[in-house]
Subunit: 118 residues, 2 copies
Amino acid sequence: MHEQTLNLDIIFAGLADPTRRDILRRVAGGELSVTEIAQPYDLTLAAVSKHLKVLETAQLVIKRRQGKQQLVQASPQALRDAAEYLHNYEQLWNDRFDALEQYLNVEQEHGPQNHPHL
Amino acid sequence: MHEQTLNLDIIFAGLADPTRRDILRRVAGGELSVTEIAQPYDLTLAAVSKHLKVLETAQLVIKRRQGKQQLVQASPQALRDAAEYLHNYEQLWNDRFDALEQYLNVEQEHGPQNHPHL
DNA sequence: TTATCATTCAACCAGCTAGTTAAATAACAG
DNA sequence: CTGTTATTTAACTAGCTGGTTGAATGATAA
């Protein structure tokens, strides 16, 4: 389906850290250098650099060098892949819960039995 | 926004494991007991039980007891929350990349400079 | 070349994760 | 009660994660 190896493991793992999600939020607004990214956090540059490597490996961001700086920008494909994955389940589960709801309505007409609680 | 504490950390961490995503896929098709869930994997029941606890903590599944068995079913809210999170970024990033594309088109009329590579 | 700024790498550490085996608990059947 | 089936808990382990400090690298400026 996709040209590159889509790795949901590392995409979701990349998203599973609040500092990294905050970085994503901030670079979504425009390119930032590593030092700029690090500024709000009580972390060393080395730690932030590691977070960026995780995001880069997951292809959630890309970096380009501009002079001394590395500029980081959002890269939407990985996130789209993750969203697509979730969306499929949403669809499926919505259908299932609709079916369950209907089943429960029918049940009520016949009197209560043991049925899964919502 | 949501009645319960929405914890994206543990939702995404829950999704970041292929066995757990496979379990989700299978319970999306209908309730399964722990033993049924464990059957296809080369894992002990204890290991599967731990995976289920992770999914349950993330509220990606719920369990109910039926006699000796624990029946596991998908619980859509956490997944919806994650999807909603991603969808916001998709939106934002799509806008951003549209803007960038437009910017690049204007640039071409004026001759090439150093601009971010897509 | 030397100094400076921006970033990464290497080595290390504490805590977490995903697995194991073995024992414990829960629900039911006789 | 006793045994059987289903699942969880406890204790342990190897490897991963997220952080640190200090040295190394890359790019530019003087």
